[in-house]
Symmetry: C2
Subunit: 401 residues, 2 copies
């Protein structure tokens, strides 16, 4: 007898009708399996709770995690009731009841240990465990949460702990697409992707899976499937690279509009100046992505351009302006009207010319590249936001996706 883990996110559990639908999906998968279902809170619920907490300026505390984890308690109780109505032997479990032990980083806890034996015991008497995602308990007996999107991580962690056959992540889309179907109507569902490609896609804007959950699946060599709770279609499998028979040169095109570009001009070009700037960013927990450094024509002053997340826009401005005396720059420019477009594929490792094709395509469309960053299986370019759609569409076409 195998065990499958099935995770349903907020939009899939928003309302009693949707929960009844999930109960049917779960029952239909029971023939040769035991099942662990991992649920989020109903869509909108966690935002409501967060807005309460904001009023009390409470964050990263015993209190905030206590409040934020209350929503899953409702969905797991209701789904387990729905399963029992269908004659399925089911038990609902909260994070502390497993227990799913975490560290003490409230609102961003890491899982330390899952009691595998207890889960197996529950699966002797029950065919389905309905587990609350997103939550755990620390060694002080206090409830913790794994951060937004943390239910994916719960699902992968529990699947890894019990060596599940597979972990299915149900969403409101049919899988991972070659690009956003809202931009390019010819976007196709990808049937198989490597963990590495999925990680690059997630970090470059495709909001299908929580990055941490993909990393954890890769570490444990656990097969993931991303699929829709609204259709019965097979979704996208995310697997070990070795299981990919044919490696696509480019698997997909992703984009993100949540970047901001920072340009500091007229800095004295002396050693250590970049270290100072990026030291400041790091001290303030500001993540820097792409970096371009130019020495100006006078050979004395330099310009540095880098990208940050838009949410850090105001903080970055403040930090740099407050360090004017240390950096002694001439001007500071922040720009939110940029987009990052990335092409991703395992085949790029062994195939030359992918980057060249990308740059030619952008040039043909008169799109200026503001910055570039690459990895073994990804090329990202920063461009003016107004060109994002045409860039995505033309790249999707040129790589035959």
């Amino acid at each position: 007898m195998n065990t499958i883990v099935m995770k349903f996110g907020g939009t899939s559990v928003a309302g009693t009708e949707k929960l009844k639908n999930i109960a049917n999906i779960v029952k239909n998968h029971l023939s040769n399996n035991k099942i662990i279902v991992v649920l989020s809170a109903m869509a909108g619920e966690t935002n409501k709770l967060q807005s309460y907490l904001d009023e009390f300026r409470s964050q990263n505390s015993i209190e905030s995690d206590l409040v934020l984890t209350s929503g899953e308690q409702v969905t797991i109780g209701l789904l387990s009731a729905a399963l029992k109505n269908l004659g399925v032997k089911s038990i609902p479990l909260l994070g502390w009841q497993v227990p799913l032990i975490t560290d003490e980083n409230y609102e961003n806890a890491k899982i330390l240990k899952i009691d595998k034996k207890r889960i197996e015991d529950y699966l002797i008497d029950n065919d389905v465990i309905v587990l609350a995602g997103f939550q755990g308990i620390n060694l002080n007996g206090k409830i913790t949460s794994l951060g937004r999107g943390g239910s994916d991580t719960t699902a992968v962690a529990i699947a890894s702990a019990i060596e599940a056959e597979r972990c299915d992540i149900y969403t409101d889309v049919e899988g991972v697409f070659t690009t956003d179907p809202n931009i390019e109507k010819n976007a196709k569902k990808i049937s198989k992707l490597s963990y590495e490609e999925m990680l690059e896609m997630a970090s470059t804007g495709a909001k299908v899976l929580h990055t941490r959950s993909v990393e954890l699946a890769m570490k444990n060599n656990l097969t993931l499937q991303v699929l829709s709770s609204l259709t019965k279609k097979t979704g996208t499998f995310i697997v070990n690279e070795k299981q990919l028979i044919e490696k696509e040169i480019v698997s997909g095109v992703s984009y993100s509009r949540s970047e901001a570009k920072v340009t500091i001009s007229g800095i004295l070009d002396k050693p250590g100046i970049s270290a100072k700037i990026f030291g400041l960013m790091s001290e303030n927990n500001i993540n820097v992505d792409m970096i371009v450094q130019n020495i100006s024509q006078d050979g004395v002053s330099a310009n540095i351009t880098f990208t940050i997340n838009q949410k850090d826009h105001d903080l970055t401005k403040l930090v740099i302006e407050n360090s004017q005396n240390i950096l002694s720059y001439k001007s500071l420019l922040l720009d939110k009207n940029v987009a990052k477009v990335s092409v991703i594929g395992m085949g790029m490792m062994s195939q030359a010319g992918v980057a060249e094709k990308m740059f030619k395509t952008l040039a043909k469309n008169s799109i200026n590249i503001l910055a570039i960053s690459t990895s073994e299986i990804k090329i990202s370019v920063l461009i003016d936001e107004k060109h994002a759609n045409i860039a995505v569409k033309s790249l999707h076409e040129v790589y035959n996706l």
Copy 2:
């Protein structure tokens, strides 16, 4: 250093502003005390959760209690955050974190044991414990609930366990009144009542305190205070009879419109017929209150009249009609247009003439008495509902309340 328990119900915790108000009330009581605050869920929340459960026909189960107890998790987290904002050392605790051990009667669990030592330990490092009302954990590690209004019981149980100085129950009224101020504008707040009087008042319609909580306070000789969270006025103290210096003959007049009258006419007057009827009621968990039995003038057939809760109206009708062959009665009449009016007072035990005064007053107002029930400290009469207001007003006046 003393410990006070303060309980706030659903209307007092409905919304962030109200929780901030409570934080101030709690802080103002800290000078010479440690405090345990017991909270309900926000008003309306438990009804919302109940309506979800109704859709899944889930009741008295692991699932129903899991869902129903999620609301207090939010209010205790937020209040503890509000207290910390005021510089108060506070910790929020759920029922299972105390732990507050109960039996396995889901939705109506009884408290078996409270870990006093753990509570005392928490009060070494903290000035306030913010405890979730209404919930506990059974010996299987599953969350249980104490039934609607159960937060009062949590407050009294915890206060008894740690031998608290007092248990203050905050509501949206200023205390217990001589009768309902909505009916009789001259109703006065009672300053002191015995447990027995409060129990009679609660069971005859005054919806101030959960009956179980008063019984528990009486058993543990714990002083209760019912007061308003909106004013700073002293409320009504509920104490041991011995602490009442002057025992009022009549302390209050209560009424209830939630009764229904059942009349079965033309039953053969043979031994065991009442036992059969009330056996049927008991088998179907229908509570019977007042009973009147008349032998009809022919000396052969009899009429039985009794009262039930209106919620059992349909079930009672069904049960009796289905037993026509056993009871062989002539007619069955159910009537919801009745009200029960009661006068309550410790002094009635030693004072004659209280009942006489009551019946005279009702007669003077041409109010017919349909049934009577009495205890040592209470006389209740069943009357036509249309006379309820005038009965309450005239009795309130005649006993000089």
